[in-house]
Symmetry: C2
DNA sequence: CTGAAAGCGCTAACAA
DNA sequence: TTGTTAGCGCTTTCAG
């Protein structure tokens, strides 16, 4: 592969001049630049971003760690982030942690070694990035959608408690008394807040909480739903707390021949595109994902660009979503 | 940030020894290594992957270019790829091209500058990577799911023509005579093959083809469906040739109050998890995505590891999928 | 088993 | 405006 030096030799110039001609636009004679460009083209020269980054001490690359890219929630987020970073000249290194703490740690460490300029991090562990990346020359981290310990890093999260409250209240208002929640792993901040919101509403209404815990997978959603609907006191409404769970819930309901909302009302967290296309469309709590992702990019850009910002104490920003009532909820039939 | 030299100073050793102690496991005294490890830890030392790659001339990073990560099709692919590369010690740089040729080219070029060891490429352009990355020290490229000119790169694709034939034949066999296809941009190999398969079956059956072309987006699926069902001679069956289109098709059908399969039968390409959870579940043509992605990793690993493989002429591998008949298709009601 | 030295490809002072 | 020099952090001969 041709190097800058090769181009210099071929053009009869010094490497420094070639460098200036190709990147730093100043102080180069037009004729010289033309010669350089011609030589570079004819040699098929591509600058080595590695060498450049080693010198410049910035890679123009950011890392993104998400638990699961098949989940629309994160796919949408990744897409928005990638587009926004791209616009600002940054590449994005994608890491998929599969909701595993071990994976999380290892990716954090990899990204640090690769000297990414910043990390957008959806943590799959309660204590997250603490210690690992933070210690030396702190690389800016923004926690997105989930967060670890408050106040250690910038965090952009949704008001999960509020969302759970909205969904559960909606069911209570419809007259449901046996409302079950299908939840994720308690290690995640989202799970804890969503459970808290659900519990709070149930307690206030004098109703018994029933929670099925497990991983954020369709299989868990499926198994939990079958479990819930196999007992004697079946719930009349189900609260699916994440979209991968919902996939399984719907399949189980169909397998069991349970009608929605006839036999069971269903509410779900998040609002992937396919919720609205369901039959019936799902009542859900939608989050302003796009705005949240763009704000993450904004925050990072600022920290990177302005020295003052770099020293700013971390802040936690909480976004509200909104209850979207569709056809999957109705008063209980009994 | 602490460097290897800092560790060396702190441990009272030379950089060379520290390097050997931390990576090359040979020829280092155990006591020395312990000292090095202790020093490294206390300084919070993280090796600089950039510097290492610059020397080693390999980045242990691969690039993936996909058109759209919100599409389950590519999300699944990206997940499998990331996991498999991860296992082999490779990082993955994700680029989302949004089905734009310009984006494609620019990402190819970025990946080349970053000196990724290989690229998995789902092209959004008919001529693709030709010229750009290929010219100098050829970096291995595997085209996945879509392909550009045959024979220039390794390609792992599905038999799209066969899939379209299977879906269309299924509808013809059920007695449908007015079958419309909603297709993507003709610049993509998948679109061309799917259209060819559809046309072939229609022609053989003596039926008139009707094709709605447009981008691979829910909006196009929606608009095309409304268009199809607004005329005088409405189709009795619709063939949605990609899952983003299907999202829009379903929404349009609901808005129009058209029952599936009562008023319109629906078949779709690909088999994302939510197809089966639809009401009714969708008849579709599913591809062995996982196997295809794993093979891509296999191919690349071989080319990277074995010098002989690196010189091997590119091959095109075509995978067959299978028709999955579910509830969205039935004989026409007329 | 350990150290000295050279260099991967690039850019930024500084000098000319 | 251009060239010389030095060095980013690491690994790898080659000596010791």
């Amino acid at each position: 592969m041709a190097t800058l030096r090769d181009v210099a030799v071929s053009a009869g110039l010094s490497p420094a001049t070639v460098s200036r001609a190709l990147s730093g636009a100043r102080y180069v004679d037009d004729a010289t630049r033309a010669r350089v460009v011609a030589a570079a083209r004819s040699l098929g020269y591509r600058p080595n971003a590695l060498a450049r980054a080693l010198r410049a001490k910035q890679t123009m690359t950011v890392g993104l760690i998400v638990p699961d890219i098949r989940n629309d929630f994160y796919a949408e987020t990744a897409t928005v982030l990638q587009g926004a970073f791209e616009e600002r000249g940054y590449r994005m290194l994608l890491c998929i942690s599969n909701n595993e703490a071990e994976s999380d740690r290892s990716y954090l460490s990899t990204l640090a070694e690769f000297r990414v300029d910043a990390i957008v991090y959806v943590p799959s562990t309660p204590n997250g990035a603490r210690g690992l990346v933070s210690a030396p020359k702190r690389i800016p981290i923004v926690e997105l959608l989930r967060h670890t310990e408050e106040g250690v890093y910038d965090a952009i999260v949704s008001d999960d408690r509020e969302g759970a409250v909205a969904l559960t209240s909606h069911l209570v208002a419809l007259g449901h008394r046996r409302i079950a929640m299908i939840a994720g792993p308690e290690a995640l901040s989202t799970t804890r807040y969503r459970i808290a919101g659900y519990r709070e509403v149930m307690r206030r209404a004098g109703l018994a909480a029933r929670i099925e815990r497990g991983p954020y997978t369709p299989d868990h959603g499926y198994a939990a739903t079958r479990e819930l609907l196999s007992g004697e006191t079946k719930p009349t409404a189900i609260f699916s707390s994440a979209s991968p769970l919902t996939v399984g819930v719907l399949r189980a309901l169909k397998d069991l021949g349970a009608g929605v909302p006839g036999d069971v009302s269903l509410v779900a967290f998040e609002d992937p595109e396919w919720y609205a296309a369901q039959n019936p469309p799902l009542t859900c709590y939608g989050l302003p994902l796009r705005e949240m992702a763009l704000l993450a990019v904004e925050l990072i850009s600022k920290r990177l660009a302005e020295p003052a910002e770099a020293e700013r104490a971390p802040t936690t920003l909480r976004f509200s979503g909104r209850l979207i009532v569709r056809g999957s909820t109705a008063p209980p039939s009994g």
